[in-house]
């Protein structure tokens, strides 16, 4: 699945190469790819539609002026927009109230509510040094109360006993009274899983909510959930005015589009992620990580970051100015680029990270190893400054000298000059700023024809 997705985004990058400006037409195709990626990640369709509209609006008319190519830029916008929609870093629970602070758990069947109660109890106890009590209002599921009792014992927090023949609202009331008596800081209330369309059960949790007046009402949702996530989240939010969301079972490989759906529909923060069955397996929410997981393109993003960080922007700008002044691209510039590419782990390293490049034949990959870079650099090093700026003067005898100096053959020198000529032509075609980045992309993203070393 990941491979397919990656090559999908590689397609976006490729299709938009050489475009100077993002227009309605040239991004339409990439929006289709983004739509597909989001749907495959289980982002709910209405949310996908809204999202694409937002991305389009932002991308339209943008100049391609940074070190990224248009395709990369679209992906970057998609990612940034996704991160933005995901909300801020985890804020944790807000328990500022007259204790006991009540936390109410709500969600569909099997989402992970009871397990998460134990996880929260543990963090609150161990990390926030709170006095915690848990209680189960699940009088329906067989052994649900026993499950919570066992877990409470395991994490070592107060457990308020309840029984299957009691009324959930009565249980909650009694637990709250007891918590007050014992000067408990936080009371965590587990509830039965319920369908959002089950009126009786939704009414029950509404009553629990109004009698407990919780400071936090958390919606627990399975990260594997599909399109229905929006319906469930909306209904629970309408019934309870949720304060936050916990996404469970992220230790699986679901792409977790439900996170975006829920976030978009109810606008409440995602507070934690469940990362396993054990009581310790709870982690704070990082919007960027979940975003790139949804897109299935962590590697693309890390590549973009790398290119942005490692390309010396000043140099790039100087170079661009020079191009503009019409001085042209010379061998000294070429060498500089080779050095920069090498510092990024070489062409091989770049290629590994580019989606779709994983499938390059092994032999081809081997051809573009660091040694070749170094050889090219050596050849250029053996030239005089004059030759570098004005390669036209390199005649037969000069070639011989350069080959000797760099420990290569005359054919190698010829090949380099030929490649350089091709590059120069390419460079001339390119307008305005960003020449350096485009050049690098030309080499890193896809080898221009005849560029095999």
């Amino acid at each position: 699945m990941f491979d397919q997705l990656s090559s999908r985004f590689a397609g976006v990058v490729k299709k938009l190469r050489g475009q100077a400006r993002l227009t309605e037409e040239n991004i339409a195709e990439s929006m289709r790819e983004v739509r597909m990626a989001l749907l495959e990640a289980d982002v709910a369709l209405p949310v996908v539609k809204d999202f694409i509209a937002a991305v389009k609006e932002r991308a339209l008319g943008q100049d391609v002026s940074s070190s990224l190519n248009p395709g990369q830029m679209v992906i970057k916008i998609v990612n940034e927009e996704l991160v933005r929609l995901m909300g801020s870093e985890s804020s944790g629970l807000d328990l500022s109230t007259q204790p006991p602070a009540v936390v109410l758990m709500a969600g569909l069947q099997g989402a992970g509510k009871t397990t998460t109660v134990a996880k929260l109890a543990r963090t609150l106890k161990e990390q926030s040094h709170k006095k915690v009590m848990v209680v189960s209002c699940d009088v329906y599921r067989p052994a649900a109360i026993e499950q919570l009792r066992t877990l409470a014992g395991r994490v070592g927090v107060e457990y308020f006993p309840s029984a299957a023949d009691q009324d959930p609202v009565a249980i909650a009331g009694a637990a709250l009274a007891q918590a007050r008596k014992q000067f408990i800081d936080v009371l965590l209330v587990d509830t039965a899983g319920r369908l959002h369309i089950d009126n009786t059960m939704m009414d029950e949790i509404r009553r629990l909510h109004s009698s407990l007046q919780p400071v936090e009402t958390l919606f627990i949702i399975d990260s594997m959930m599909g399109q229905d996530a929006v319906n469930a989240a909306r209904a629970f939010n309408e019934a309870l005015d949720l304060t936050g969301v916990i996404l469970t079972k992220v230790d699986g490989d679901a792409r977790g589009g439900a996170a975006l759906s829920v976030r978009h529909v109810i606008g409440k923060p995602i507070k934690y992620l469940g990362t396993g069955e054990k009581e310790t397996e709870l982690s704070v929410f990082h919007p960027d990580r979940v975003a790139s997981r949804i897109l299935g393109m962590g590697d693309v993003l890390s590549l973009i970051e790398e290119v942005e960080q490692k390309t010396d922007r000043e140099k790039a700008e100087k170079f661009a100015k020079k191009l503009k002044r019409g001085k042209g691209f010379n061998l000294a510039d070429f060498r500089e680029q080779l050095q920069q590419m090498r510092s990024m782990g070489g062409l091989g390293g770049l290629m590994d990270k580019l989606p779709g490049m994983g499938n390059m034949p092994q032999a081809a990959m081997q051809q573009v190893n660091d040694k070749q870079f170094m050889r090219l650099e050596a050849i250029i090093d053996s030239m005089t400054p004059q030759e570098r700026v004005n390669p036209g003067i390199i005649n037969g005898s000069r070639k011989k000298r350069i080959a000797n100096g760099s420990g290569t053959q005359i054919q190698d020198v010829n090949r380099l000059l030929k490649q350089f000529n091709q590059m120069q032509k390419m460079m001339k075609k390119m307008s305005k700023k960003g020449g350096m980045a485009k050049m690098m992309r030309g080499m890193g993203g896809r080898l221009p024809p005849g560029m095999g070393f």
Binding site: M1, M36, L39, E40, A41, D42, A44, L45, L108, Q109, G110, A111, G112, Y140, R141, P142, A143, A144, E146, Q147, R149, T150, L151, R154, L195, H196, I197, D198, T200, D222, M224, M225, G226, Q227, D228, A229, N231, A232, K249, D251, G252, D253, A254, R255, G257, A258, E277
Partner: protein
Amino acid sequence: MFGFRKKSPAAAASDSDQTRARLDHGLKRTREGVFSQLRSLFGGDQQLDPGILDDFEDHLLTADLGIRVTTEIMDDIRARVRKKAITTPDQLMDELQAALIRILEPVCVPLEIPENSRPFLIMMIGVNGVGKTTTIGKLARLFMQQGASVMLAAGDTFRAAAIEQLQVWGERNQVPVISQVSGSDSAAVIYDALQSARARGTDILIADTAGRLHTRHNLMQELQKVMRVVDKFDSGLPRETLLVLDATTGQNALVQAQEFHQVVGITGIVLTKLDGTARGGIVFALARELGIPIRFIGVGEQLDDLRPFDAEAFVGALLMERS
């Protein structure tokens, strides 16, 4: 064989009557003329405008069919619209319904249990919280009603109170539950239960296992070990390995099925939680990719909330507008 196609006798009134009534009503409405709701959406308009096709496509996508399957189906439909093989909204709906049913028909194969297996083993597997243990309770009820003797094995020795949960289902059905203390070896419990079932001449043994994500390598290996132990007991033991999938699950359900299938080999699928608003559209990709029979659907949390899988009814419910 215990006549699994037989209709189960009218069940006693229970909390889930309401839920079941809803679903049954849905299925009935379906049979009467599936798309009354969708039809009204397009009214008496006999023109096929592209908007209708897009609406259909959206409907399939929101039912979790996935972009790939949806695109395939809709491409085909669109091609026939272009060739004027489909000209009215009614035709369009009929064609779509037929296309969907065609995909599911091959996997609409009921579970048949050979007689005199003593025991026939049913292994319940799947990711966390999908409804394995609850489905065991329902299956036990079904088989008992068909006159078979049933025994349960508490193979989930990991999750808190998993054993107690299964014991409650055992009591409700008045069938024996073989268990050991929490934390003991799952394979050992199931081996024990097999011996016990054989000794008592029990018809069907249903073994629970702990929920596990297919991404947890060690837990998947543990499942393989359970299967090896079953083989050690009797390599020719007739059995069904049922993967339980939650209908609210999105595209990951396919990955789950593929992984479990690769590790232990699945012979049947149960799709649970269809009593909500989830449509379980992922089964189309499953049918395509794996072709493993879908045996039952779960439609609630009570003993009687299990139905044999019926492709037509399923497609009908899927295409119905949400209430």
